[in-house]
Structures are given as structure tokens and as C-alpha cells.
Symmetry: none
Subunit: 195 residues, 4 copies
DNA sequence: CATGAATGAGAGTTCATTCAT
DNA sequence: GATGAATGAACTCTCATTCAT
């Protein structure tokens, strides 16, 4: 596959992403993607063989993009509290914009593709986020910013709350105020408890 | 509609429930339900006009059943701590059994049917659960069982964690141990903080 | 499936037969049959699920029809020589009319469906024809009509010649004269050798 | 067309032959051949324009190869009986090996390409085989090896039996024993009748 | 000469939905 | 009320064939 094909492949994935954002995972057909990309029916099959495959590649792209974003924000020399707040704000932004989010599609995909642990990107992401959160809290505790006597438990708690908010945002709706309240509750618990 | 029709209607809903449990919401077709019920294609349309309508009725049935269960456990005269634990154990049971659960189907349904607040049964349930949880915590605080200075925040936090666990159970998988840890974390936070 | 469906099923098979006669087996698509029957795309699938299945049913019908024809001619009280000639004439008629013959389709079908002996209708037919031919020759020998010292071998020889003529008729073409010559050769060999 | 092109042409035909041997004629697509040859899609079209054309060229090659084989065996100074037996043994070998045989593909090709006599290679081959067989029998009769009062009829009979065996081998299957029986029957008839 | 990406027609198959009985 | 045959739209996937490079 030449240089050109790589470009086109990327173009398809980017276009398909929009389709998944709009329609979730299950409702998307090869035809939808063909039409969105404005290519021929057979043309798509030259690059991908199923919506499932396409979606997995889209998620792969997404993860890379996310990682880039993440590392960008970490570069700065900031306190644990700053970083935590930054992270939560990022999550809030993600939560509130229904548009341009793969969240729903990802859930749908994993509903019907219960991948074994190793291949389950979602699981790996969740676990690694918990790990990072734990380190962050620990470092906050170390320099006196936070008070917490079960950093691992707290990290998990925060991540589950975020997951809860995420799924609620996609199903019952969540107001910005509600998200703020939860963030405030989390931060307060970490900082205030020492008093 | 005669007595007989009501029976049949109920029969269809109960059978359809099994189908939704097994296949989620989107993948279920009218044909699936017709076949599961062993009735005629046209026959189904005399009672319902779409899988969406059927699913909503199934959820209605479900809610009533849940309420019954709920009130049963509340009957007993128990302390706030007992009730909270009972409730969390119930949630745990629900979480861990993948079988016989509408959870996934419900999420799928709300993904593509973002109902306005009033009709959004899921939202009403969530909100009412938060309310009940808040009352429960308040009563626990009142009689010295719990320590908590933001009962509403805590109630919401607990419910979001449960939602988080629920969606994780359906996508990345959750071990019994992991659920126990979260329950322990919640209970500990409520009781231990007073020290 | 009601009375009506049976009629329609039969109608489809009869119509499909014409299509197979015209196009052989491989080139026939479900669409061809749908169009020939002037029914809907989905309609055909209510009765059959593939061209292969349809073709097998057509062959089943055919066999029954053949058997009927066969027994009709045997009814008469005729000498072995008469019956043999009658049979060969019947084969000749079959051979020469390209139109209205499933021969080619049958060959094509068995090319790609090398069925195990038991299910191989073609094999069963061939073997039973050999048996019948053998009996016929034996009875002819018994009453002095024929001379032959290896009835089984002769019966097989005749059947292979007929098969050879059949495939030649479908590929390189066979003139009526050529068929006559072969029939004459067979009959002569049976009768003249006694002199 | 340069030397190089001729080589490539030959390479394509030889590779295509294998494909036809494996899949018959109809099921073979240009794509199959392109992939087997590991050349580009467009490249194949520079040399041939359809599977049909390719197949005809493959058959042409085949015939030349066969002729070479044939003349090789005839070179030796042998009796008519020897040559006949040699020929029948050769046919038997051909019959029994399903692998590496174009037989099926050839039948399929002629099913849908009822070429006029002149271009019908298969017909020319059959007719010439009959001629040669006739000469052979005549020479055998002349030197007292065989007894036969209708050499042409006998030659045709033998060739039709072989055709019959060939098509049976491809459809209902033929055991080595069965072929032996037929060969024995043929030879016996030629030699024994003189007694 | 050679490549291989691209096209689009066409085959298979499944279902929601209707309607005569 | 109830049936289930029938329809037709929609999707998936495969190839012959072309054409810019």
C-alpha cells in the first residue's frame, strides 16, 4: 500500500469517526461510511472489511490522540492539585459535549464484543487511569496538598464516579452544574478532610 | 380489550423481556419476538407496533417489580446502616449477574432514545434513588450511625459510583472483589470519618 | 404450510426447472428464479434457501416423474427385446432433445457436490438402471431372445455407452444417426452372437 | 510481442491451468488467476481478456502435450493388443486421478460454449480417437489378434464407454475395480469372440 | 509494459410491515 | 382477534473492468 493509500485510509477513518459519533456503533453500516466518504462500495472493502474493524481502528487513532493531549498537559510543572483539577476539567468538557464524542459508540461496541482482558482497550485505559490517579493522589499527600488514608481506594472511587457521570451523560443527561457538584465533592474530600 | 387479551399481552412482554436480556435492545427484531412467543407475525402487531414500544412496556413492568422488591426489604425495622448494606448487597448481586439483566438493553435504548426529562424513566429512577439515599444517610447521621457533612453530595457520589460499576460490569468486566472494595470504601467513608 | 403453499412450492419448482434446463446449474441465481416465478425476492426465501436446495428438490420431482413413465411402459406384456428397444428409444429421445433436459444442470451440480454414496441420487439411479438392465438381459437370454455369457458386464457396458452418449450430446453434439448406430450395435451384439 | 512476453504468457497459462484443475471452469474468476499468478489485475488483461479465452489457450497447450505423450508410446513396435492395452491403461490412470485433471473444467466449458464443429476441439479429439482406435482394431484383426466384424462400431463403442466412465468418475465416482471390469470386458469381447 | 486503486453492477439475505382470509 | 404469506427496501460482499500513473 503506497503513500497515497495511507492518506486515504486515514481519510476514511476520520470520516468514519464522524459517522460513529453521530450514530453510535451498531446502527452504522458499511453503506453509511461509503456514503460519508463519498467513495465506491467496493472501494471501502479495499481498506477495511467490516464496521467492527473500522471502529477498532478509529479507537486506536483516538487513543493516540488522547495520549498526545495528556502528555501535553503533564509537561508543565504543576502541583498535584492543579493537575487533578486540570484532569477533571478535561473530563467535564468531554462529558458535556455530546457532539464529537465516541463514548456511546464505544459502549455499544463493548456491549457486543466482550473482548478478553488483554485485547480490551477500554479496560486497559481504565486501569491505567486508576494507576495514574493513585500516583497523583500519593504525590499530593506527600507534599501536604491532599489528605487521604486510602489512595488506591480513592483513585478507584473517583474513576467510577467519572464513569458513572459518563454513562449518565449519555442516557439520562447531566447538567454542567451536576458535574461541577461532583468535581467539587471529590476535590473537597481530598483536601478538606485533613482539617 | 378482554381478559384474554390482557393475558396475552402480558405473556408477550414477559417473553420479550427474555429476548432483550439475551440480545440487548438494538439487535432485537420483531421477528425475534414473534419467534420467541411462537405467535404469528401479524398477531404481534395487534398488540405492539415496534420493538421500541415493547421495550418501554417491559421496562414499565420491571420498575413495578423492582418497587415491590424494594418495599419488601424496607418493611423490616432496621438501622440505616443495615438498610444501606442491604441495598448495596442487592446492587452487587445485580451487578455481578450478567444473565437475567436488562441493564445493557436499557443503556442501548436510552442511547438512541434521548427522551425528554419527564418521560425518561431512567432519570426518574436515578433521581429518586438519590433522594432515598440522601434520606437514609440523613437518618443515619441523626441517630449517630454515620458521619457526613454533605448528605446530598454523598448520596449522589454513591449513586454515580454504582452507575460506574454497572457500566464497567457490562463493558470491561468487574470482579466480585472489585465490587466489594467499592462497597467497603463507601461504608467506611460514612462511618469512619467521624473518628 | 397450508394447501396453498404446497401449490406455490410446486409452482416454484416447476418454474425453476425451466430455468435450470435453460442455464444449467451454476449460472442460475436466486434472482433468476425470482424473476422467472414473478414473485418477490423475499418470497422465494420463504420456501427455499439456496439454488442448491431448489435444484435437489427439482431432481427429486424429476425422479418421481421418470419412475412413473418407466412403470407405464413396463405394464405391457412384452418380450425382453421389445422392452430393451423401448428403453433405448426413450433414451435416444432424451439424448437428442437438448431442450427440456436437466442433464447438463445435473452434471454441473454433481461436479461441485460430490455427495457421499448414500445421498448421491445419480449414483443410485445409475446402479439401479444397471440392475434392471441385467435382469432384462437375463430374462432375454432365458427365453432364447438374446445370447450373452456375461449379462452383468453387458448391462454395465450398455449403461456406460449411454452415459458416454449423454455427455457427448451435451458437449460435442451427437447426431440422431450416431445414436441409432450405437443402439443398433448394442442390439446386434446381444442377438447376433448366438448364431 | 517480445521473448519476455511470450515467457510470461506461458507462465500465466501454466498457472491458470492449476486453477482450472482445482476449481473447474465456471467458478474460476479473473481474480483467482491474478492471485495465483501473483501479477497485477491490469497486467492479466494485457495478455488475455477473459477466463474463457484463457481456458481455450490452456486446452490448446494441453492437446499438444497429449499428442507428444501419445506419439511417444506409439513409437515402439508393439502388437495391436499391446497398444490397445497401453492406451486403456493410460485412460484408466487419467480416470482415477481426480487431481491434476482438466476433465471437469473441460466439460463445464463445453456446456456453455457449444462451439460449431470446426472449432470444437473436443469433438475433433473424440473423432480422431475413434479413427485411431478403428485402425488399431483393423490391424489387430488383420494379424489375427482380434476378432471383430464391425471395427468402426466397436471403436465407437469403446470410446463411448470411456466417455461414460469419465463422466461417471467426475459425478458418481468410479472405483478402480469398476474400471478394470470395463477394460476386461472390452478386451475379452475383441479377443474371445473368435473361438 | 505494468501496476493496483477505483468503480459500480449484481448476487445473497434479512426483516418490518401489510393484508387477504 | 389471529394467521402467515407476500412484498420490497436495505445491507453485505464480490468481481470484471478501467485508467491514471
Amino acid at each position: 500500500m503506497g503513500e497515497k493509500s495511507i492518506q486515504k485510509r486515514k481519510y476514511i477513518l476520520e470520516t468514519a469517526r464522524k459517522v460513529f459519533v453521530e450514530k453510535g456503533f451498531k446502527r452504522v453500516t458499511m453503506k453509511d461510511i461509503v456514503e460519508a466518504c463519498d467513495i465506491s462500495r467496493g472501494g471501502l472493502y479495499l481498506y477495511f472489511e467490516s464496521t467492527s474493524q473500522i471502529f477498532q481502528e478509529v479507537m486506536k487513532m483516538e487513543t493516540q490522540a488522547d495520549d498526545d493531549l495528556f502528555s501535553d498537559s503533564i509537561k508543565e510543572d504543576a502541583t498535584a492539585g492543579d493537575i487533578l483539577l486540570l484532569f477533571l476539567m478535561e473530563q467535564k468538557k468531554e462529558l458535556l459535549r455530546k457532539q464529537d464524542t465516541l463514548t456511546q459508540a464505544i459502549y455499544e461496541f463493548y456491549f457486543e464484543n466482550q473482548l478478553p482482558k488483554k485485547e480490551n482497550r477500554l479496560k486497559r485505559q481504565f486501569d491505567s487511569a486508576v494507576k495514574i490517579m493513585e500516583k497523583l493522589i500519593e504525590s499530593g499527600v506527600a507534599n501536604g496538598e491532599f489528605y487521604c488514608d486510602d489512595c488506591a481506594g480513592c483513585a478507584r472511587n473517583i474513576m467510577y464516579v467519572l464513569e458513572g457521570l459518563k454513562i449518565c451523560a449519555q442516557t439520562i443527561g447531566v447538567s454542567e452544574e451536576a458535574v461541577n457538584r461532583e468535581i467539587y465533592y471529590i476535590v473537597k474530600n481530598l483536601s478538606a478532610e485533613g482539617e
